[in-house]
């Protein structure tokens, strides 16, 4: 099994499954911090999916999208944490 096949048939479905589980936590999450962490995990998973797809399809331009997503999802989590700290 070649690397692109491995990525498209095994790695991406596993990441999709993880994203579904994180989404369940996002919907059910008993407290607000649980939901924030689930949202951060979804951002990280999206980053991993973009990176894997860039490798599978040999498109290095897509990696820039992953970098921007990494920087901005970090910023989003920081802003949520600040909001939580102010509220409590």
């Amino acid at each position: 099994m070649s690397l692109p096949d491995l990525i498209l048939l095994v790695a991406l479905p596993l990441l999709s499954l993880t994203m579904m589980l994180a989404f369940v936590r996002l919907v059910r999450g008993p407290s607000l911090p649980d939901r924030v962490i689930a949202l951060d995990l979804i951002g990280t998973l999206g980053m991993g999916m973009i990176a894997l797809y860039a490798i599978a399809r040999n498109q290095p331009a897509l990696l820039d999208v992953a970098i921007v997503l990494a920087l901005l999802s970090f910023l989003g989590t920081i802003a949520f944490a600040r909001y939580l700290e102010r509220r409590v």
């Binding site: 820039d64 910023l75 920081i78 600040r82």
Partner: protein, 135 residues
Amino acid sequence: MFSIILSTAVRYLFPLMLLFSVFLLLRGHNDAGGGFVGGLVAAAAFALYAIAYGVPAARRTLGVDSRVLISLGLLVAVGSGLWPVFSGQPFLTGVWAKPTLPVLGKVGTPLLFDVGVYLAVVGVMMTIILTLAEE
């Protein structure tokens, strides 16, 4: 609400984000990227700085009033459009310099237009973010 972990992380993340935004800006005219995305990343860097060190510190680091940046960016963009008009070509025609610079590659009015967009986007985003953060 000063956090030592966040301020240490921002100290190395802030120059990295600014560098990446300039990289996106310079590559924009012949690859993925451009002035708009670069401006957004730069504005995100300043927003992170404002969260870590407070809004007054972010204003001091920005140096100029963010509204000055908007008008400066619009002026640069219109100027890049007017450049070919003086040599008898239509408005906004792309004029490229003959020699290519070692790092930048091809240099011309489209790059100047992108710089204008970059400045305008940074100005607009900083005006919005800093005003909201001061509330």
